[in-house]
Symmetry: C2
């Protein structure tokens, strides 16, 4: 008999896991708390674009979804840094041709949901998961408009319902379920740079723009329609924080002082500032990621992260691919498969979270330092000479499928080695010499 799979959440990871489960020949139904994305008006203010990288593409390809997504993805080959005087500097993300891709969350979701529906996945919207009976593996849903209650008993419940996962919240009530939520002191707010009247981009299109300011930053990612989605990451309290920006004048002054080249690009800057919400960010950890043979967590539900490596979605997509591999390995034996899934995947959830916190400091602070840009140039040169011996951390994370845990571990070792290279007194003059490359080779 065909196994029945219930997926809580029809977001990005829920929809992709539906494609994976359908491909295995299971019956699949998705239950989504929100309105049907296909009917709803898309609202600004909540991380509406994302950076898709190698892991994401790998997971999409395995269910033949990459082609559809390519059409809506904009390659970003480099970071462009904007300093307080409006001067630009830049840093390539990887080798020529390597890029991360800006995609709209809602457009990507639409593509995946429609593909799932076409393959026969049932999609139920406005269904809120209210309770789970872990003894019997029964999930209870309530319609958010009619309040009608539905109880679903299936062979597997997949919690793909995001950072505030109802499935995980039910698991956290169970004895011995580890859990933590750690909010950082920064909040974020989105702002939109509209396109030129002719629909063209106001900034260089194929790049991720950063305004690094030490303890905080602003970033901008390109959209297909010529606009950019900007995100301001700033502390809630203290110096140059959200709490200090209470009036239109204060906002205008703040941007003119700190992000002067941005001001002419956003005509209704302070209106947007007060219309769009300020949102919090957290790292959420739990263990295990499964209950018996009938419930598992994927994506943010298992390992919600702060957004600074652009890897949240990619990590969730990778969960789907790895789970698929493990189901092959265990011949669809859910019990043994899920035990291994929890055990092998958890260090990578931790890894992507550690990487994300680390990259916040890189983006907001390091990218403004000439020494950091020099270090990245030296690493890039070395990796071109000895590609088998060195892949820079950013490339391991963004352009390979090396596990996050391994990438983090190797990256920290590389960083230590590079510190001794960067401590060479006249490194900025001699960095391009053979000596330096030989020294790195010896130190490895």
């Amino acid at each position: 008999m065909k196994k029945n799979i219930t997926i809580a959440g029809a977001g990005l990871v829920g929809s992709l896991s539906a494609l994976y489960m359908k491909k295995r020949g299971f019956n699949v139904a998705m239950y989504e708390r929100r309105d049907d994305l296909r009917l709803a008006k898309i609202t600004a203010g909540k991380s509406i674009n994302l950076a898709l990288s190698e892991r994401g593409w790998t997971a999409l390809k395995k269910v033949d979804a990459a082609k559809d997504v390519e059409k809506i993805a904009i390659p970003m080959y480099k970071r462009i840094m904007h300093d307080v005087q409006g001067n630009l500097s830049e840093q390539a993300y990887g080798n020529p041709g390597q890029a991360i891709y800006s995609v709209s969350r809602s457009m990507l979701n639409l593509v995946l949901m429609e593909k799932a529906e076409k393959l026969g996945v049932d999609i139920h919207c406005n269904q809120k998961c209210t309770d789970i009976d872990f003894e019997t593996g029964t999930a209870h849903f309530e319609h958010t408009n009619s309040n009608e209650k539905t109880s679903i008993h299936s062979d597997l419940l997949i919690g793909a319902d995001g950072a505030f996962s109802a499935v995980r919240n039910q698991m956290v009530k169970r004895s011995r379920q580890q859990y933590s939520q750690q909010y950082i002191e920064h909040g974020y707010k989105e702002l939109l740079i509209p396109a030129h009247d002719n629909g063209s981009h106001k900034l260089e299109k194929n790049a991720l723009h950063i305004w690094p300011r030490g303890n905080f930053m602003l970033i901008a990612l390109p959209n297909l329609d010529g606009s950019y989605t900007c995100t301001l990451f700033a502390p809630y309290e203290g110096q140059e924080s959200f709490e200090k920006l209470k009036t239109h004048e204060e906002v205008q002054e703040y941007f003119e002082k700190i992000f002067p080249d941005l001001v002419p690009l956003i005509p209704d800057l302070s209106d947007q500032f007060f219309t769009n919400p300020t949102s919090s960010m957290a790292i959420m950890r739990t263990y295990p990621w499964h209950v018996n043979d009938h419930t598992i967590l994927v994506g943010d539900a298992a390992h919600a992260t702060v957004p600074f490596y652009g890897q949240g979605m990619n990590a969730g997509f990778e969960d789907c691919r790895i789970l698929d591999e493990l189901l092959d390995k265990h011949n669809n034996n859910f019990k043994t498969c899920f035990e291994e899934y929890s055990r092998v995947r958890k260090p990578n959830g931790d890894g992507v979270q550690d990487l994300s916190m680390h990259n916040f400091i890189v983006m907001r602070d390091k990218t403004a330092q000439p020494n950091f840009l020099l270090q990245k140039k030296i690493e890039q040169k070395f990796t071109q000479l000895y590609p088998e011996k060195w892949t820079p951390l950013y490339s391991m994370v963004s352009f390979t499928n090396i596990s996050y845990a391994d990438a983090w571990h190797i990256g920290m070792k590389q960083e230590k080695l590079m510190q001794s290279i960067m401590n060479i007194p006249n490194i900025s003059e001699v960095w391009d010499s053979d000596d330096i490359m030989e020294k790195m080779l010896r130190l490895l």
Copy 2:
């Protein structure tokens, strides 16, 4: 107008905080999820005795509740260690006359609840807190039998509802609320040593008995009726763990091998073993401990800990006393008072948790080591010579009101100093000499 205070939870800390709030002249009502303790049959298996120490007494005295509690408290002046051969050794907890006190949880609760009721506190049982509206400060309760719903708007909601606090769980859903629950790998199970037929105790009465076994242990605390409540702390999985004890024969064999002198004291040992539950233990942390000027957490709701210092209740009682002091200091201004309460009390919640984890290792492992007992003797001698210069960690925690955070900090520094004393080659021969005391004085 008199302020109205709602307390979620009529347990130990809830009842004591009711006494404190009543004493301030507020109207106080307690809402308890469970059956009325005064009507219910007391069931074994859930930590039915506790160790009351100085902080607990201090908090009880301030609301004139100490006299009533003295009648039901048994002083324990020392630890008595039982080795695998049944040999005994012992260690005084403090100076002569200093003791921690074994009390029955249910009897203590009864004393405090009845005192509260006599003073005019309203007590509502079978009332489960289902939701809180933090905008308006309204708590929603549902009667666990009739399902009747009640909404209570009051000036202050005190979450005194324990480790699985419904009030805290609602706070954890709020943005930027920090939270973690960390279960340890050990579980616990209670067992009862009955009294002799004549009602006398089968072991030395005025002591806490420990069977330290390295990675695990068993303890016994005296009850008024001549019985002892034992608690076995053992890992859930692995060597000599709960998972290995599936049959009556396995249990009998385990106890005969590991706790042989206990076996004759508990005639129905393996029956008790399979009747009583195995329960988990966790450290739960959250921050802040308040919402605006209308909700606060006290006791386990704010800082649930593993039980190994016997300080969980004492810390909760101390919360009530400190809160009372802060309400004096802030002239009953809830907003500023609660901000300070969260800020100053949180490090002590962390402190009692760190101390508790530390003392697990002391109890289960260190108390079996001659060197540890010698170290404690040296410290005891030094503290008698120089009482202003040295209070041993255990004494700071159990016999003073020094803050937990300070005790932990000072204790770790003392431990470092004592390591250098214990490393003196022939310390076991020379420990009683003036030289050693002078050396400690110099090292301080």
